[in-house]
Symmetry: C3
Subunit: 270 residues, 3 copies
């Protein structure tokens, strides 16, 4: 069972150990995810050249693969880095941004999951449904048109098929290994109005994977910290511009007592 | 004749229909333009791989081509996407960033206009003058050294030659199809101190093209919303940093009454 | 000897002349460094295509080469641009981001220094130590794990070997030509929590190189303005999110009296 105590403990470990998180991610969010990782206490490195991704994986605690603005050269590097991470036993979190919106995205996502065996797959509801069905019909661009509730069965099935922990972010965040389900109901409706909040979640999962060997705990801790920080930041914000700024301040200043007070979590199947 | 009523109606359509806007744009502004599109109520997708741009155009309402940090692979994808948009009758807005500053930019801009037949071309005064004259002497980098007034004749000529609506952004924004001219005098002198405000204008034109078949109205509505939002945001800001943030909050919260009260528009040749 | 008078004079020159600074830099920081250059009064251009970098160097006052998210195509363009800048006598500032973290970064950094003869090399303590020793053992990602004091001897040695002015940014910033040393003790401990603050320093060095032929003065002026602006902005900020914003506002509004009041500078060997 995952509770505030575990989450607070994991957050403390990030701040104490400052895990190096290697990101191969998209152009849109690089600045924000690097800043979110710094704000939570981790150390980000963004590097994608095939000449060096193995070296970076070697010194990193975890690897984030995000296919947001994918192209063939980048995918090549993602696969090299993923292979290296596997061979060294380092955890990978994969963000299949916009899977289903183009044939190329669907093929690439399936290929990455197949070759890299990510510990965690995080997407929005539409992405998780598309990925599970390998269908190309449901995703409209990169924003979700489905509710996270409707995607839960897809997430469970995907988790069992891939041996990954699957995370759906949405009004309710679900984290599942296919049997156990953690549901987190923090957050704010303004968060999807800031680009890359999902990508930031994925990077934060990477930070927690760098300090915890329990994948379900790491992913759930990340989503709880994201949701609670987004919730507090939204209360201070007039719109998406100030939310983007306040989110970084909030995650930087987040205290255990904020987590204790605000956490809305349900554990199922434990 | 374009008035506040038309602009408010078009803004409402964006918020109701959330048009998917496909952006092939530059690295500097991707985060900001995605956020501006989300803040106004549209749904942005950033994708540039030649393997998928046709798929993205197929599901999008409009296409934004911005050559800010161009390179040969990206230009190749711009042309593929533009061709697809043309074949499907989807509107394109083109931003010839820095045209005239290098021979490569000038050639590329002319090539894109020739092959993609954009519905709208938006630039600053120096860019529009350079593009119309195909001269390489006037543009200093990507910031304008000319006034928008001095570029109006170039804009008219360019519009007639290309059958595009041409937009000059500057102290006064001009929108023209070569005969009719709409002049908008909103905005603030601090806006050029935020990088990519012009690119954001272009993306916002893309959002309006996604909901209005009247090109002149769509482009004018976009520039009015940009100018008024920038004006309000500047009044709240101590410098370019807070302007960048307040701009997103303002566009997110913009009301019809703001447009009615503040719009400074002149219609000529209607 | 460098004092507040020289720094204020150089800042004034940037605001009056608006030097065009050509940046070949990394994806993570492009938006921020462009905004910092605009805020201080310079005009940034970001361009990396090999087809145009020579044209851009030709119209620019200085060239910034930053290898943060390097790849082979970009390095090729950096070398072409550097060669052009040398042939035209235009100053180059080089930022060896993460040198030592991968063999590829180390080779590339040495190659760029060798071929481009930068006027200024700016890095954090770990980078300067790694670069001087060509060792690959000390750098952990892109964040420094060494103090700037411990790197000063490396900086002096590197400066003498490369005939560059070397800048270490850290708790104390050091600027040295190998003999003279300028130490600046402004800044704030929150600055390393904002991604790319070092890259912004490098870009700001580029702005000062565009208006001053005295390399040591230009680099020292840049670091003083960075440190003082960061210090003022930190006092106004609750966390890294607001610091990133307030930093731009502060540099935009920075007055001579702020520099006079706050500057903590030591000149050695003059």
């Amino acid at each position: 069972m995952i509770d505030s105590k575990i989450i607070i403990e994991n957050l403390k470990k990030i701040r104490e150990n400052s895990p190096l998180v290697h990101n191969i991610t998209n152009y849109v969010v690089m600045n924000n995810t690097a800043n979110a990782l710094l704000s939570i206490g981790a150390s980000p490195v963004m590097a994608h050249a095939k000449e060096e991704v193995e070296d970076m994986v070697s010194i990193a605690s975890s690897l984030v693969i995000n296919m947001g603005t994918l192209s063939s050269k980048w995918v090549e590097s993602m696969l090299i880095a993923g292979d290296k991470a596997n061979s060294m036993g380092k955890p990978i979190v994969f963000d299949p941004v916009g899977v289903g919106a183009s044939a190329y995205r669907t093929e690439t996502a399936i290929n990455i999951i197949d070759k890299c065996s990510p510990s965690v797959i995080r997407g929005n509801a539409s992405e998780i449904i598309a990925l599970n069905s390998q269908a190309k019909t449901k995703t409209k661009g990169v924003d979700s048109t489905d509710s996270s509730d409707s995607a839960l069965e897809s997430a469970k099935s995907l988790a069992l098929n891939t041996s990954s922990v699957v995370v759906i972010s949405g009004e309710t965040d679900y984290i599942t290994d296919g049997k156990k389900v953690v549901a987190i109901e923090n957050g704010s409706s303004m968060m999807p109005k800031v680009t890359g909040m999902g990508c930031t979640s994925t990077a934060i999962v990477g930070a927690f994977l760098g300090v915890s060997a329990n994948i379900l705990e790491a992913a759930s801790s990340a989503m709880a910290v994201m949701g609670i920080s987004g919730e507090i930041a939204s209360e201070l914000s007039k719109g998406p511009g100030s939310l983007q700024m306040n989110f970084l301040d909030t995650i930087y200043n987040l205290e255990g007592s904020d987590i204790e007070k605000r956490l809305k979590i349900r554990n199922e199947g434990f």
